[in-house]
Amino acid sequence: MSIKLALAGNPNCGKTTLFNELTGSSQYVGNWPGVTVEKKEGKLKGHKDVIVTDLPGIYSLSPYTLEEVVTRNYLIHENPDVIVNLVDASNLERNLYLTTQLVEMGLPVVLALNMMDIVRKNGDTIDSKKIGEAFGCPVVEISALKAEGTQELISAALSAAQLKPHAIAATFSDKVEAALQQITQQLPGALRNRHQRWMAIKLFERDEKMLAEADLSDATRANLEAIITKCETELDDDTESIITNERYEYIAKVIHKSYKKKVAGLTPSDKIDRIVTNRILALPIFALIMWFVYYVSISTVGTGMTNWVNDVLFGEIVPPAVEGFLVSVGTADWLISLIMDGIIAGVGAVLGFLPQMLTMFLFLAILEDCGYMARIAFIMDRIFRRFGLSGKSFIPILIGTGCGVPGIMASRTIENDHDRKLTVITTTFIPCSAKLPIIALIAGAMFPDSTWVGPSAYFLGIGAIIVSGIILKKTRVFAGDPAPFVMELPAYHVPGAKGVLIHMWDRGKAFIKKAGTIILLATVLVWFLSSFGWNMQMVDVEDSMLATLGNFIAPLFAPLGFDNWKFAVATITGLIAKENVVGTFGILFGFAEVAEDGAEVWSSLQAAVSPLGAYAFLTFNLLCAPCFAAIGAARAELGSAKWTWFSVGYQTLFAYIIALIIYQTGSLINGGGFGFWTAVAFVLVAALIYFLVRKPADINSAGKRLNRKVSA
């Protein structure tokens, strides 16, 4: 018979680290609360019949966030055989609050005191035996990160799973216990099971979900209400506060007996926060860090290596070797062309950016692991709130710098429905890792000496999010204040080399995998369309099917300054995966052939379009509809096709408008003269300003009508 083992605990207490250790998998671990948004399952290493479930972190079993609902439902309805309650021992008091609730559920619980290494290092001592006695469950000291104590934990959990339900330690005052006893007696027979104590407490607290679930008769409800009101009058407080306070009192008593803390006062984390989240320095520090990350990865370290990969590896080494081999075995011309001009040029162009991406991933992993990422949400909340978003929207955006798909999924931690939709729509404005090669290519080819193009892409993304936040928030659909911001901040710590490298590699691996599959297919398709004419004969690029198609679309982009058909085609292939933009350039501009001299690659780009047009192209590709995978993820989170179409439509329109404004005003400043499209750009700027400053739509119906008139 299989055993179900559930991992429960506060957010960011190391559940996923333990999960990976127990199951041998490598699930994503992050140093901020809310990394796990859905439960994950795996088989216990060495015990194939034990299923381990990693539940999202929660502070209590009273559902406030979606994660809490997921966890609560799992524990009630799936009846795991044993709950491993992971507790951050360096923060015992708050963590045990959840423990008091978990033990009430009547399921076998094993308490795992995690981060014991930190506790010992601080010179604190914990008497785990006493804690175990207080909560009536076995306690194991572990360090999930250093894989200490996990074997003991497994054996404790497996033996606990065999136990029969037993009486649960009384944790409340006599008066409350008496009331709970009375409530239990009122429960109908069907509900008198192992969960009965928990049910009684929830009913005592007037928990709405529990009242609905229990489906009690009117008479029973009246009886319960009488018991609750009586207790409330006696203790002069509402039952919910009574329970909360008594839980903390009980914990305080337990901790007093079992926990010796050595130092008090300002912790190193607090001292760092004093500076990093300082009201004056916070933003400059953030901007500086982000500028540094993007500058170093795109313009210096990364570029050096990327140039080597592009020019030497995929320029001098691979192509001649492969071509030589193919010719020597007498391969057909078209196949040589497919491999050389299609696959090596396309996939090679994409892979060439791997060093830059890995540098970038390394920095992001360090920022994340040390605990700074969570602070960014706090710093940005103040600003985001002004634009109708909460700081919590910033976390999906930050994850989105790696990949938009998990970014969109991370929006699930946002409690408010409007905020969540708004975040899903705007998250992909931030340059994801797949857009990095586009930035790097444009920055390298068109602006070789500038330090601002790389970082500017990042700030452009943030700007687009802010502007969209304001505009959309003022529409009727999204009106209303963002949900309040509450977030636990992890302690700062020196990032571990292993963890950081694993993060970097995980993201890098996904990129390589994509290059080998979807991008490979797309490059083959682009090669085919660009090598053959409509008569199915191999022709010059300019006479190919792709050229006809591209030329058909290109005029659309004329106002944006890049009406070259190759750019139009690259934009379209970018919908499949953003890396394709660069891959397509690789094929269409024949990178593999000219790559012997790096400058030549870039000069062919320079010849095709003006720097301003290239920047508009970059802008459009950064902001327009994301790749299919991200659109799919957005579809899942938005929950309807209508919303998905709105999202994609809005993004593309917004991208077009911004790119147009940049190109047209830029040309005017450069002395390009005033034309029809310059006028359009001005009108669009005016419209944008109007949408930014207009009065927010009212939610009531009178306001609705009024507003429609105004905007019509």
Binding site: S60, Y97, D273, T277, R279, R385, P490
Partner: protein
């Protein structure tokens, strides 16, 4: 007075958490309950980082205003 008036570095005791809804319940699960002491680590325009029960919790102004010290 509301917590937003507290100075950074000061240690204060919570007198009351106002309101009576799920937000208050959530604050309670984070440790914001009557009688608990809370330290302001830093403050930006009313948004605060607070030290409570050995953890750091970031709250926005509207939330911090509901905590009376």
């Amino acid at each position: 007075m509301p917590l937003t008036m507290a100075k950074a570095g000061e240690r204060n005791r919570i007198k009351k958490v106002t309101g009576k809804d799920e937000v208050r319940r959530f604050l309670a699960s984070l440790g914001f309950v009557e009688g608990e002491s809370v330290t302001v680590v830093s403050e930006i325009a009313g948004n605060m980082i607070l030290n409570i029960k050995d953890t750091r919790v970031a709250l926005d102004k509207s939330m911090a205003n509901r905590i009376m010290i």
